[in-house]
């Protein structure tokens, strides 16, 4: 089921100038949050973006939504380059591209009723959505996300975390977008609620033929949600593959250690498991290691890994990894 890509990202870079904290002269150095990333996304597809904090996964999501301006590279949406587009074009495109945040309560205005919150995106396009249409659409949307239409006059604080996330999802979906970036949408929720929201997102995807970019650090949720997965480390992609291939046949040592590190909710399996946990912390993106950025933490690193940075290499159909030693470390 290969569909033509709706979104194509080509060698995308997002660098932030950061004031240097050490040294004699004041100076600005670039923080390379996203440093040369390419991928494409088809209609109805879910792409998972996984990595540790600070790896640039949220910045990548924001760049796609034109919330931060890329330093270099191309983002083409339905064939049009949007990386350097003007404000008017960006505004019109907002209908297609929406975002759901991690913390549902912090992303809802406490002084607006949820009816107002969900209708707000519609009000940006008053010519198309009259008041009566707005009311009808809000009620339909509430029903669709599992809330009762009678709740429109309540305020965000009256809702639990799971319900608030349903409200933010309703707000993101009301303009019937084509792509929704989900930035850790279930990380702040309790386990029993998390499963409800995941199921809801899957239902909405089927109903509206949506594409998702699912940003998360939780591999078990990613495996459940995503068709394809992209593993990021310090602003770069180290591996990308179909979800099944990635979890069954991880090729990059970083991917393998991420999968190994997930605790298994099964006492016997967990006791029998031998974790070879990574030592050290991810280095600062301000000063990434030379060569392969992962080499200081990699159990398989050799001299070559310090000398040069490995490029993404196709190891199987649809499966790329950036590691010099993927053949030897299988």
């Amino acid at each position: 089921m290969t569909k033509p890509p709706m979104l194509r990202v080509n060698d995308l870079k997002v660098h932030f100038p950061v004031r240097k904290t050490s040294g004699f002269l004041p100076d600005r150095v670039p923080l390379k949050a996203v440093d040369g990333i390419s991928f494409s996304l088809g209609a109805g597809e879910t792409l998972g973006i996984v990595g540790e904090s600070g790896c640039g996964k949220s910045t990548l999501g924001r760049a796609i939504l034109s919330l931060v301006r890329p330093t270099a590279g191309r983002i083409s949406w339905l064939g049009v380059d949007i990386a350097q587009a003007d404000k008017r074009a960006t505004r019109l495109r907002r209908k297609d591209l929406q975002l759901v945040f991690q913390d549902p309560l912090a992303s809802l205005n406490p002084r607006m009723t949820i009816g107002e919150i969900i209708a707000e995106p519609l009000r940006s396009f008053p010519a198309e959505y009259s008041k009566s249409v707005r009311i009808r659409k809000v009620n339909e949307m509430l029903h669709q996300v599992g809330l009762s239409p009678g709740m429109t006059n309540r305020y965000p604080h009256e809702f639990s975390g799971g319900q608030s996330q349903r409200i933010s999802i309703a707000r993101a979906m009301i303009l019937t977008p084509k792509l929704v970036v989900l930035d850790e949408p279930v990380s702040a929720l309790d386990v029993s609620i998390q499963a409800q929201i995941i199921n809801l997102l899957k239902d909405l995807q089927a109903a509206f033929d949506l594409s998702y970019i699912f940003i998360s650090h939780d591999l078990s949720v990613v495996q459940h949600m995503c068709d394809r997965v992209l593993i990021m480390y310090l602003g770069q992609v180290v591996e990308q593959a179909r979800a099944h291939d990635l979890f069954v046949n991880p090729r990059h040592p970083y991917t393998r250690s991420l999968i190994d590190a997930v605790p298994i909710p099964d006492p016997v399996a967990e006791r029998a498991r031998q974790t070879v946990s990574l030592t050290g912390d991810p280095p600062s993106p301000l000063n990434p290691p030379a060569g392969c950025r992962f080499h200081p933490r990699c159990p398989h690193a050799v001299d070559a890994c310090q000398a040069a940075a490995p490029e993404l290499e196709t190891v199987a159909p649809g499966h790329d990894t950036a590691c010099f030693r993927w053949r030897e470390t299988l």
Partner: protein
């Protein structure tokens, strides 16, 4: 290394709010054995953290605790702040989810850590410093000397959590309460901290109370698990029995809704088995079983009468009408 180190009887925690009295923990009784690791699992608002904050006398100002929490022959709930200060940070220590708020921002790590030993063990600064260095070396903190000269904000999240664990272990406490110790950490760092805690279990006599929502973390570390729902204990069991023979519908639901890497428990259509509905708010007056509105097997009695907590096997307790002998 047997014997109870901590017991609670009829523990109640309430908060006075403008909207009335809120019950965070209701009639909780449990015991902790010397050297064991006890897991406390539940959703946010289930009272799992408040239980231990109340035992240590650090509830928010509007909170009140009733009942008995017995530690070495004294009721912790009846002690003065001074008497508690001899126990907190010394015999019973606590680590939190967010290490940054648990550390003093304007003191170097070395100072903060030595202060613990100087205060509680009356050691000289020199001896204390040597002990601190020994401890953080044991916790495999790289470049220990350098790290001790740093302020908390200069350390990474994983390193801060390790410093907080070091601080909690310095006095070789009887009990370490770990409240979501790895929730804020990345998976690879979480794995490091979990290894640290499991090493600790092997090499010290310290009992660990692990408060968490992550069943994977519980499976790896704990010997016994208590499941809480809406401020009450609903099921208690040895860890294997809880995972392989869960008897409370909430425990079962929790296990079923946990996504797992490979071989997940899915319903036939590839969806996760979610528990419908949401936990009751604490202001609600609950008659009957608090889980009944979300329970697929709820009977008429579940909505009217609260199921008593009963012994349901060796080392097992359960509060559910469905399992009651008819």
């Amino acid at each position: 290394m047997t014997g109870q180190i901590l017991t609670a009887q009829g523990l109640n925690v309430t908060f006075a709010t403008p909207d009335g009295m809120v019950r965070a923990v209701s009639d909780l009784s449990f015991s902790l054995m010397r050297g064991e690791c006890l897991g406390i699992v539940g959703e946010s608002g289930s009272g799992k953290s408040q239980t231990f904050l109340s035992a240590l006398g650090v509830l928010a100002d509007n909170g009140r605790a009733g009942g008995v929490v017995n530690f070495q022959g004294q009721n912790l709930l009846g002690l003065t702040q001074n008497a508690l200060n001899d126990i907190r940070g010394n015999r019973i220590t606590m680590i939190f989810q967010d290490a940054l708020t648990g550390l003093t921002p304007h003191m170097r790590m070395g100072e903060q850590l030595t202060e613990v030993l100087v205060t509680h063990k009356a050691l000289s600064k020199q001896t204390a410093r040597a002990r601190v260095l020994e401890m953080i070396t044991r916790l495999r903190v790289p470049d220990p000397q350098q790290r001790l000269a740093m302020y908390p904000h200069e350390l990474s999240g994983g390193m801060r959590q390790r410093m907080m664990i070091a601080m909690a272990l310095l006095c070789e406490p009887d009990i370490l309460i770990a409240d979501e110790p790895t929730t804020a950490l990345d998976v690879t760092i979480q794995a490091q901290v979990l290894q640290l805690l499991s090493g600790l279990k092997k090499h010290t006599e310290t009992a660990i109370i692990l408060v968490t929502h992550d069943l994977g973390v519980v499976a790896g570390l704990c010997e016994r698990v208590m499941v809480m729902y809406a401020g009450r204990l609903v099921e208690e069991a040895p860890v294997d029995e809880l995972f392989y023979d869960p008897r409370h519908p909430y425990t079962r639901g929790l296990l079923d809704s946990t996504p797992r890497l490979a071989g997940s428990v899915h319903a036939a259509d590839g969806r996760l088995k979610a528990i419908p509905g949401q936990p009751p708010s604490l202001e609600e007056q609950i008659t009957g079983c608090a889980f009944a509105p979300r329970c697929a097997g709820a009977m008429a009695i579940c909505h009217t009468e609260r199921p008593p907590l009963r012994q349901s096997g060796p080392g097992r307790r359960l509060a559910c009408h469905l399992a009651a002998p008819s």
